[in-house]
């Protein structure tokens, strides 16, 4: 005991260092973006306000690009309206989804755990697990909300798993990110006998309450068959360019509660 006390007195600097490291490691390994750990998150007030101020200044540099993408989107929407007009489809069957536009105030691309911060929060009707898309395609899922800011778990984070399908033949699989390669993802769980070609479109499957069906995700770049499982490993390129993302849309599902209720009831029955 005496020796122990002497050791502690003689090595108090090392022990202080050790205690701080234990503190850091506890933070690091107990952190889970799905827990609403409010403080250590880019949606907290301090970093939210600073990042928004910064983005207010820098957004002028991107105006031209943003304009271009808005024009392209306008054109696409106009075409869609024309199509509906011509085909005289009765007032669109209420799909149950509506959209909230938001500005990206913080984004990381080169890290391993990447996140996006946006300038809309609880006060604007944002809630956890909302789907997020850009004008080009899928972006991610909301994981943490404060009153005026939210953090998004984007496609380019190893924790993201999203159910997708090949648009052409409706075979569905699971999408994850290829670590370190921004803008590329990996689709697995598609059986080896399924036929497709390079450039085929990958879209959301619509099995969850988060995303509607048929939101574009990316295009097939290459594929190989895993020799052990005989399943395809398909490399895709995301439609959303995360290096150049300034505005996003949050998807609000009016039937979110109902959908979740059914699923939780099912899970209860199975237990």
């Amino acid at each position: 005991m005496k020796n122990l006390i002497r050791f502690i007195i003689n090595n108090d600097f090392f022990l202080t260092f050790l205690l701080i490291q234990i503190f850091c490691f506890t933070l690091l390994f107990s952190y889970n973006p799905y827990h609403r750990s409010y403080f250590f998150n880019s949606s907290n007030v301090l970093s939210g306000i600073i990042q928004e101020k910064h983005s207010n200044i820098t957004e002028y540099f991107y105006l031209k690009h943003v304009n271009d993408s808005l024009i392209a989107e306008n054109e696409r929407l106009r075409n869609q309206i024309e199509k509906y007009r011509r085909e005289e489809i009765p007032p669109i069957l209420s799909s149950g989804f509506s959209y909230i536009a938001a500005k990206v105030v913080g984004i990381s691309v080169n890290k391993i755990d990447n996140y996006i911060t946006i300038n809309k929060g609880k006060n604007h009707g944002v809630y956890n697990e909302m789907g997020v898309i850009s004008s080009n395609g899928l972006v991610g899922i909301v994981i943490s909300v404060s009153s005026n800011y939210s953090t998004i778990l984007p496609l380019i984070n190893p924790q993201t798993k999203i159910s997708v399908k090949i648009k052409k033949n409706n075979y569905f699989g699971s999408l994850s990110w290829i670590k370190g390669e921004a803008n590329y993802g990996l689709v697995t769980e598609i059986p080896g006998y399924v036929q497709f070609e390079e450039g085929d479109e990958i879209v959301t499957s619509g099995f969850s309450a988060i995303f509607p069906e048929n939101i574009p995700v990316g295009n097939i770049v290459s594929s190989e068959i895993d020799p052990t499982t005989r399943f395809h490993k398909i490399k895709i390129r995301f439609n959303t360019d995360f290096y150049n993302l300034h505005y996003v849309y949050l998807i609000k599902n009016k039937n979110f509660e109902e959908h979740n209720q059914i699923i939780s009831e099912l899970e209860k029955k199975n237990d």
């Binding site: 933070l27 952190y31 880019s42 301090l46 953090t151 370190g180």
Partner: protein, 170 residues
Amino acid sequence: MIKRRIFYIFFLAISVLVQVLIFDRITLSSVFLVQYYVIFVLLLPFNLNKYSVLFLALLSGLLVDIFNSTPGLHSSAIVFMGYFRNFFLNIYSPRDGYDQNKLPGIQSYGTGWFIRYSFFLILIHNFVLFILEAFSLENFGQTLLKIFASTIATIVFVVLGNIIFFKRNK
């Protein structure tokens, strides 16, 4: 004394802001990741006691972590660096010791001394940071490349920052 404290509070704020608003958003390459905020711990005064160095390092790391949603990651790395700071200061100390009134920067002991002193510290920081971030031996070569490339990039910008920030003290 109070004046110096206020100066260091500003210095901390600016170092962290430059890190999170500029260098964390530059996407030139995925291996040259500048960790500019280490300049704060590198340039703390000689006579500051070593416990304060540790806690100030922790503070700067936590601030960077909050902006990146990576609690504990940068903190752990920079506290490692703070722990070894005295060791490397002693190794490269001049024969008659440091002048306690000066800062451990280029303006006091020259660029060569500063690069020698900061190289291993930044290397330790980047080593802990990128190993913890990857947390696997998968793509270990890529991680090593990242560590060395980022160390060199960081030194370049820290030296520039030092020259710009402390011009007056010359």
